[in-house]
Symmetry: C2
Subunit: 382 residues, 2 copies
Amino acid sequence: MDDKAMLMIPGPTPVPETVLRAMAKHPIGHRSGDFSKIISEVNANLKWLFQTQNDVLAIAASGTGAMEAAMINFLSPGDQVIVGCNGKFGERWADVAKAFGLDVQIISAEWGKPLDTEAFRTALEADSQKAIKAVVITHSETSTGVLNDLETINQHVKAHGEALIIVDAVTSLGAYNLPIDQLGLDVVGSGSQKGFMIPPGLGFVSVGEKAWQAYETAKLPRFYFDLGKYRKSAAKDSTPFTPPINLYFALHAALEMMRAEGLEAIFARHERHKQAARAAAKALGLPLLAPDENASPAVTAILPDGVEAEQIRSAMRKQFDIALAGGQDHLKGKIFRIGHLGFVCDRDILTIIGALEATLQSLGYERFTPGSGVAAASQQLQ
Amino acid sequence: MDDKAMLMIPGPTPVPETVLRAMAKHPIGHRSGDFSKIISEVNANLKWLFQTQNDVLAIAASGTGAMEAAMINFLSPGDQVIVGCNGKFGERWADVAKAFGLDVQIISAEWGKPLDTEAFRTALEADSQKAIKAVVITHSETSTGVLNDLETINQHVKAHGEALIIVDAVTSLGAYNLPIDQLGLDVVGSGSQKGFMIPPGLGFVSVGEKAWQAYETAKLPRFYFDLGKYRKSAAKDSTPFTPPINLYFALHAALEMMRAEGLEAIFARHERHKQAARAAAKALGLPLLAPDENASPAVTAILPDGVEAEQIRSAMRKQFDIALAGGQDHLKGKIFRIGHLGFVCDRDILTIIGALEATLQSLGYERFTPGSGVAAASQQLQ
């Protein structure tokens, strides 16, 4: 049915009516006092959400643009970097690093498995010359639903002492407790169409003091993504280039809603939905791609056996107007992914599992007791 | 009064209700068939608007991001480029070129004066080694309201034979007849919050065949702004990175409105409003910054004498809820700028001139016959 689509993908995520209405306001001048006030409030709330006193800079770009900025501002041609690759996004950051002429060492794991933290320890400890300038980690790997063990890898980076840690928190920020200052994360990137509950078009980068020191001598060319310009403007409640004004209206409203809910409640909600989705999948006999101990709070990837992933997605869309995500690259057609990120409530989880059960039955998949998925999910939502 | 603001600045420009409503729809998945259809229709209509068969690629970025992409995809470190500078934006493109290590020759003119086309002819003719790889021209210089003589400069570039012409059409596209294919313009950048009648957040670059050839050997690093990726995706009605979905909804609606009005009518409307604004300024004894023969169709800059520009802006905002633009850089406080770009009708022009007359009177400026500004504007609107 028209206008009945329910988005359960890991971005874009559902957007609250309050936010859509804010976004539909007539634009105002971006150099006006009224807009400066919005920038000021948004920037303060971003620091709250990022749990940091660092600059959190907003850029008109997708999450990929934000991550490119997160890398190119702090490095010079030929610099050694380690990039963790266990999914599409880790591989993308390696591609960005190569495109800019960095000397890239990839530490990879099979898609669906977490990065091996010991491999990072070994590589960093072996670097007695302190030549490694940065370690790039995808926290929640959206393509597989794996949550990498950022805390442990970060400890190894801290032991190294020289390298910056650059984190893709695109689908973990606002979903999982990521205390940037407490962990001392140097650079953290994210994107608006995820935990932020607004449409795509804004990327975010938080930058700490050690990274700003690296910025001073970093020689990769940059202009639009020059974060120094954004920092200078942010100090004056402004932006270096025309900001996406209506997305700021949306973000302003969304951050107010998030403050009202509170960080702990937001993280608990995502944890609960992750547990419910996983419990339901198990009850339905559907294999989970990521292990329990490294499961993303934002997205659950399922590798069905005895029923086609694409048939499930297609039937869910046709009968129930529910959009699920498919697999990417070599996982295309093999997995489907349930997004439970951002503006998702307990009811949505029951809805999706109920529809999934009905869909599985209609496809002739019989490896479960009807009702067991919803029951398992319900138990996690208590 | 709240909600009564009237935007008469050269971007963001007013946004039609139809477009705001389209933008406020719930996002859909950007990899869905429904969104591919929108991309396909948007891309076809962009080609119509740009009057070209070239690829017109949309990027989640401001106009500055689009112009950076327009430059870095076709050049290598150390390449010689000429940048025309007679305002803030020309200077910005010179800064981009320098940031990326290009060998920049600046041909400048005083802010408010047009670029000297003969200086381009001389420089290009002197380049017998054909070392100049690109000429970057700001068509409508938003900071001063000067429309540079792109056609003549383009002829000199064509006579050179080697150099690409890269055009900033941020405030001329959709306001002035710019037949890209007829003129053979290699690369043309623009931004959404201008003639496109939607909020900021999308940049556009049209790329011709000669530029794509240069792309093959161009060595400046790029990833997010790699236009080859956008071209490849556009051929499949897709985008390489998450697009700003709701701005696409807005653009889809706005382009339909523009097609309904027709290019000739759109250009005639902007010409009429330019003439009306200039005739009114003259009747009010207000000096115009740009000469008649090089006046932008998008913005009219006024250098008032006997009354303070900032007082005019402030009074217009306070009593009449009209936002005018001020001056930038060294013109700050000296000029004010009336935007007549995008979704502006004849009534808006009379409104602004009427309010300007009332404001001038309230500020004690008496160098005009009351009513003469509105009368002069009206005559141009016949």
